[in-house]
């Protein structure tokens, strides 16, 4: 029973841990720049594996918490929540291309979705503060996080190619018995 509770709570706890970790004063040259994008990485990876353990409302709350902790006065609170929700929706809608395929495709999928996330956050921040914000630091963060993805993602949740019938009900997507892609 405790076992099941632990497994249910794992993605949420890991996400909250990374949200708090974005504030840690780690001074590693490239890694510490990328800390704000790590929660997005966590959301992506767990949406691949077990999206039912990351309910939408929880993602909203975690995104708002991340914005509260990270942003200074003037940053839009809720932009990360929007990003997380969109990432999860995009992953769940495209499971066909992301589950049961070689890891490289998952990496490419992450690159695309992370790019979308960074663009959305940059756009919303620029709109809300009504100033032209230099996109270079954001691009640097993006470049580092897509390099880090293969190191971090397998530690979080492995999404091995397997028969869809092995997958819990809500993660099954549109596969019918015996199919591996639909």
């Amino acid at each position: 029973m405790l076992d099941r509770l632990g497994r249910m709570a794992l993605p949420g706890t890991v996400l909250l841990y990374f949200v708090v970790l974005t504030l840690a004063p780690l001074r590693v040259p490239y890694l510490s720049d990328t800390l704000p994008l790590l929660p997005a990485l966590v959301v992506f990876q767990y949406s691949l594996a077990t999206p039912e353990r990351l309910p939408g409302v929880f993602l909203l709350a975690a995104g708002v918490l991340l914005d509260l902790l990270l942003g200074g006065p003037g940053a839009p609170v809720g932009v990360s929540a929007l990003g997380f929700v969109l990432i999860r929706a995009a992953v769940v809608a495209n499971r066909r291309y992301l589950v049961g395929v070689p890891f490289l495709f998952q990496w490419v999928g992450f690159c695309l979705l992370a790019w979308g996330y960074v663009i959305v956050v940059w756009l919303m921040t620029a709109l809300f503060t009504w100033t032209a914000i230099d996109p270079t630091p954001a691009m640097l963060q993006y470049a580092v996080v897509i390099v880090i993805y293969p190191l971090l993602a397998p530690l979080l949740a492995r999404v091995r190619p397997r028969d869809p019938l092995n997958v819990p009900e809500l993660s099954r997507g549109t596969a019918r018995p015996g199919e591996t892609t639909s």
């Binding site: 708090v20 974005t22 504030l23 840690a24 004063p25 780690l26 001074r27 590693v28 040259p29 510490s32 720049d33 800390l35 704000p36 939408g56 409302v57 993602l59 909203l60 995104g63 708002v64 918490l65 509260l68 902790l69 990270l70 942003g71 200074g72 006065p73 003037g74 940053a75 839009p76 609170v77 809720g78 932009v79 929540a81 929007l82 929700v85 969109l86 929706a89 940059w122 919303m124 921040t125 809300f128 503060t129 100033t131 914000i133 230099d134 630091p137 954001a138 640097l140 963060q141």
Partner: protein
Amino acid sequence: MAIRDDFEVVASQVRVVLQRFALGLLVVGAFAAMLIGKADTVLVENARVLALDLASPALETIARPVAYANRVIADLKEFASLREENARLREENSRLLAWQTAARRLENENDRLRELSQFREGPEASFITARIVGDSVSAYVRGALLNVGRRAGAATGQAVLTGEGLAGRVAEVGENSARVLFVTDVNSRLPVLVERTRERAILAGDNSPQLRLNLLQGVAGVQRGDRIVTSGDGGSFPVGIPIGEVVQSSEGHIRVRPFTDFSRLEFVRVVNYGVTGLVTASPQTAPAPPAGQKVR
């Protein structure tokens, strides 16, 4: 019984509708959060302060191992450039010794002149030493989290200094934590003086490592190497706190390099000079420590 069945039917219909429009509702919820944040900044500030207060103890417990890791990494980086670093330090040392003599002479002269004119000193500053327990490394905000809050006497608008110069000011204060807005942040605007010519200007950040100097009367007087200090205009900070030096003064674009090394911040001083003119309507007022007394 019929009522309960009807209720169950309606409930299941509502659930079906919710599931169909789940994504839309979540997106609307996120936008609503953004709009609320835009409309009611006091609520957002309070929420942010609460979130920081919750996160601060967790961050403080990992602050020491993280500082140790930072030191190890900095050591590794320094091994690569030991020799040049040594030469540079030797040269800087001899320069500073020369300055020390000059400073002593000036100090004596100052004391004698003050006695002569019976100059009355302003109230002394009180300061609080704080450790940085969190970095705001977002691409859009430059700031840090301190482990002192209202209980230690910090308040919004206070200057945050390092040994080298001004680092920023306190933007928000909780019970046990405070958030600092660095001078390099987009929202930071300081009234400053060019030390040599005493020309007034505004020093603005734009989230890049260098600051922008906007002169009020043209770029004529500013040269490379000029020091920029606070001017005390608008009752923000007192006069004379060093901020940075000019590194590039082409037409229309004057860039200032801040003295503070933001990549190595560990301890800072929060100074309360008793002037908080930059922050007009702050809902929190800290109990002012008696002037001249060291707080913690």
